[in-house]
């Protein structure tokens, strides 16, 4: 273990930048699990799906992956709405969501991943864009643009989501449906419709997160699995649905992972996020900025 | 007279909301206590704290000479504390007889009493008969009306052979004669030595059953005494008329 200040600073900066990206990845789960209490364990698979969509657009038409993802967002929204409708009719209405709902999403995880494998194979795919390659050198800190750009757009995404949740009627209805469905009904708002919209938004974020992912690193279908732990760890640590909390938790995790990988080696990295999760669940299930 | 249930300065908060504010109450064995108060006054929270479903931050609860603090809910049931839930919570995957069987197996059984197969069946039938549900012994809870589910709740609490039974709004929605039936049942239980705490909104039932009345408003105990005296208390009148 070679310790140098240089290495330490870079590891921390790297962790913060990746953390921003993790926050975008988790934002969807903050919506579905943190606010709506739906354990969508398949979310990482939809992110990978987003990566592949960005890949196809980029490889075939040369479109910038982020632009492609933005264009694909409505499609992902519809996908989310459809999935929620099925989930609602099959499970939520019958009160079966704990065992069977969980199994449903687990199944979706597999179906999505395996379908991608059958279509694209297990080779790593990557995208091409102007900002992939160059690195900013700020003194002793190296900031690869391919990480900086997703970081910035991630923060933008979170800011937009937070605005939606706090300033728009739909957003506040979504926050309300988590707390008091009856009150919503009395206001002539259909809770099911609100939840459908919320879940749609949740999956829509996966489209963008997927683009960010494939910009940062090459992607193959099983990459999603390592994100399951990260996403739920951040969601719980961040207080289950608090977007600011998600950002803080994500950066925290990013830094710890980065430091572990730099000084102890990358083979310990998966244990970090999952270990984080266990620690959070054991010590403070309400998270940092808990609800 | 030493108390069967002694609650001392019990407080419970939910975040910033104070649900119970330094409640103290001493209930001797054999008491017929009525607990009333407006909705949201903390009655069910108090029950949950006594029974261990919720943990109180301050204060203590002593039952039959034992401190209950930190004890799991099931241990409190073993000691002789039983309650029915305000919103019935039957075991949905088993029939009524099996629902009654659970406390017999796990509470009565935990007290070192050996119950043969035959005896268990008999007690299940008896208990169901006492609440008028013996005809539906092999039915599932989903086949029951709301009223029947409340009766099942009560029967299940009784099956635990408690020293103290807390009936949490067991009579909501019942007809006049059904209320009478439940009251008769509770009186008979009391005659057999079971202390009963009745939480109800049906004033006629509360007044006829209770020998002592406690009023809870906004988490505070504002009255505790003989029913006639309590109902004449101006603060109680204010609490109810002011709603």
């Amino acid at each position: 273990m070679i310790f140098s200040f240089d290495l330490l600073v870079n590891a921390i900066v790297s962790g913060i930048l990746i953390g921003g990206f993790y926050a975008a990845v988790t934002s969807g789960v903050s919506l579905s699990f943190g606010i709506l209490d739906i354990v969508n364990i398949a979310h990482p698979a939809f992110i990978i799906l987003g990566s592949y969509v960005a890949y196809i657009a980029n490889a075939t038409f040369g479109i910038d992956p982020i632009i492609a993802a933005i264009i694909a967002t409505p499609l992902f929204y519809v996908l989310g709405a459809v999935i929620y409708q099925v989930y609602y009719v099959a499970f939520e209405k019958r009160g079966q969501e704990s065992l069977r709902g969980l199994a449903f999403f687990f199944g979706l995880l597999f179906i999505t991943e395996v379908t991608l494998v059958l279509y694209f194979g297990v080779d790593y795919r990557y995208v091409d864009a102007r900002y992939i390659g160059p690195t900013l050198h700020l003194g002793m800190i190296d900031v690869p643009l391919r990480i900086l750009v997703p970081f910035l757009v991630s923060l933008l995404l979170i800011a937009v989501l937070q605005l939606i949740l706090t300033r728009t009627f739909i957003g506040r209805a979504i926050m309300a449906v988590a707390q008091d469905q009856l009150a919503l009904r009395l206001m002539a708002v259909d809770p099911v419709r609100i939840k459908r919209i919320a879940f749609g938004i949740s999956i829509a974020t996966a489209s963008l997160a997927g683009a960010f992912l494939i910009i940062i690193q090459p992607v193959e279908p099983s990459v999603g699995r390592e994100y399951i732990g990260r996403v739920f760890a951040i969601c719980v640590l961040g207080g289950m649905g608090s977007l600011p909390g998600t950002v803080i938790a994500a950066m925290l995790l990013g830094i710890v992972e980065s430091l572990t990988a730099t000084f102890y080696g990358p083979s310990w990295a998966p244990a970090v996020s999952f270990g984080f999760l266990l620690l959070t669940l054991a010590v403070r299930p309400a998270g940092l900025l808990g609800r | 007279m030493s108390a069967l249930l002694a609650i001392d300065n019990l407080s419970k908060r939910f975040g910033g909301f104070v649900a119970l504010d330094k409640i103290s109450l001493s209930i001797p064995a054999g008491e017929r206590l009525g607990l009333i108060g407006p909705n949201g006054s903390g009655k069910s929270t108090l029950v949950n704290c006594i029974c261990g479903t919720l943990h109180n931050e301050q204060g203590s609860v002593e039952f039959d000479g034992r401190k209950l603090d930190g004890l799991d809910a099931h241990r409190r049931t073993h000691l002789g504390l039983a309650r029915s839930f305000q919103l019935p919570r039957p075991f949905v995957s088993m029939n009524l007889a099996d629902n009654i069987r659970i406390p017999l197996l796990y509470t009565v059984g935990a007290r070192g009493i050996h119950l043969s197969q035959h005896l268990i069946e008999e007690r299940c039938a008896t208990l169901l008969r006492e609440v008028g549900l013996e005809a539906k012994a092999r039915h599932m809870p989903r086949d029951l009306t709301q009223v029947e589910m409340r009766k099942l709740e009560l029967a299940r609490a009784m099956a635990a052979e408690p020293k103290l039974l807390i009936a949490d709004e067991a009579m909501a929605g019942l007809t006049h004669s059904e209320v009478e039936d439940i009251l008769t049942l509770l009186v008979r239980l009391n005659d057999q030595g079971v202390t009963v705490i009745l939480i109800e909104h049906i004033m006629s039932a509360v007044m006829s059953f209770s020998r002592r009345l406690v009023v809870l408003v906004s988490g505070k105990k504002i009255a505790d005494g003989k029913p006639e005296d309590v109902m004449r208390d101006p603060e109680v009148e204010r609490a109810y008329l002011g709603q």
């Binding site: 065992l99 244990a271 | 088993m94 197996l105 509470t107």
Partner: protein, 337 residues
């Protein structure tokens, strides 16, 4: 039918199955059959915690792998140094003990968590365990571990037949344990935990204790299923041993078969396991998982009570219920929990 009779009956069926396999003259039957039987044990084990208690364990692979790796550790320590080889039943028991202990530990840490959090925690534990094993060089780390399998074992013949027999007996033991639980006070207790834990506590059911029992038994059985695996496969690799594939199968098989009794996991494992063996040979192993995923999602939506549920509904024209267990008496607290 009392449990001892049940056990003997299934031993008889197992003997018939073994005889049929022998008469086929094709050792492939043993190879494929072993995998199916392994899934019978895994599904039955998962169902004890998942189906009976309602607690979803995503970490089945970890317990399975622990059993496998305890065998590897013993192999590296003893057999490779040419002391002697521990007989398979002993290895199975050791694997079971290790996994049971870990199951208990995991339960102790996580069972106070609400349903969904518990499930996620199990996933987390599985990954943490996997990372620990991958970084443990004694058992080969990420490079994997080789086990030299003996060619033959008298009087059975090829070693694979011996492994098949062991797994067959383990499967009979597993379903017997499951049935024993169902017909005991424990089975009632588990059902109340599944239905309404709060009401169960109020009725006097010691929910934490029962859940710990469930996780320990479940973990132990999974470990036992994993213990012979290194000898079966010859080369053990953490990535595949800890793979989510085991997790999805041990969840899919009981859900497709039916979760309320021991029959469901058996049916699910035999049907789905055989289907996968055929698919792997004829199509590809990736399609395997697709089939499992599709069937899981399909059944969970359309037939929540599984195949057993469908059959029960068809036969009785009534939705399936918790079948009344008639022969339960209370016992003194020191014996049956």
């Amino acid at each position: 039918m009392r449990t001892p009779l049940f056990f003997l009956m299934w031993l008889g069926i197992a003997a018939v199955v073994f005889g049929l396999a022998l008469s086929s003259g094709n050792d492939y039957v043993f190879f494929a059959g072993y995998v199916v039987l392994q899934y019978v044990v895994l599904s039955t084990a998962w169902n004890i915690l998942g189906g009976y208690c309602g607690y979803v364990n995503f970490g089945s692979a970890a317990f399975f792998a622990l059993g496998a790796y305890s065998t590897v550790a013993i192999y590296k320590f003893i057999t490779e140094n040419e002391f002697y080889r521990l007989p398979m039943p002993v290895l199975i028991l050791i694997g079971g003990a290790v996994s049971g202990l870990v199951g208990f530990g995991m339960g102790y840490l996580t069972l106070r968590l609400r349903g969904a959090f518990f499930a996620i925690a199990t996933l987390a534990l599985a990954v943490v365990l996997q990372t620990l094993i991958v970084n443990w060089d004694f058992v080969g780390g990420s490079r994997g571990a080789y086990i030299v399998r003996p060619e033959e074992i008298a009087p059975i013949g090829p070693y694979i037949r011996y492994l098949f027999l062991c797994m067959l007996l383990l499967a009979v033991a597993a379903i017997t344990i499951a049935r024993l639980i169902e017909h005991s006070r424990l089975g009632y207790g588990f059902a109340t935990i599944r239905d309404d834990e709060l009401a169960a506590e109020a009725a006097g059911v010691p929910t934490l204790k029962l859940k710990l029992i469930a996780t320990t038994i479940s973990g132990a059985l999974m470990g036992m299923a994993g213990a012979p695996f290194p000898y079966y496969i010859g080369y053990l690799q953490p990535a595949s041993t800890f793979g989510l594939d085991y997790a999805v199968n041990s969840i899919a098989m009981p859900l497709i078969g039916g979760t309320t009794s021991w029959i469901g996991p058996l049916v699910g494992a035999i049907l789905l396991g055989s289907l996968q063996q055929i698919a792997t040979v004829t199509i590809s192993s990736a399609v395997n998982l697709l089939i499992v995923g599709l069937l899981l999602v399909g059944f969970v939506i359309v037939a929540p009570n599984g195949i057993v549920g469908l059959v029960q509904t068809y036969l009785r024209r009534k939705p399936p219920e918790f079948v009344g267990r008639r022969h339960v008496e209370t016992q003194s607290p020191e014996t049956v929990p």
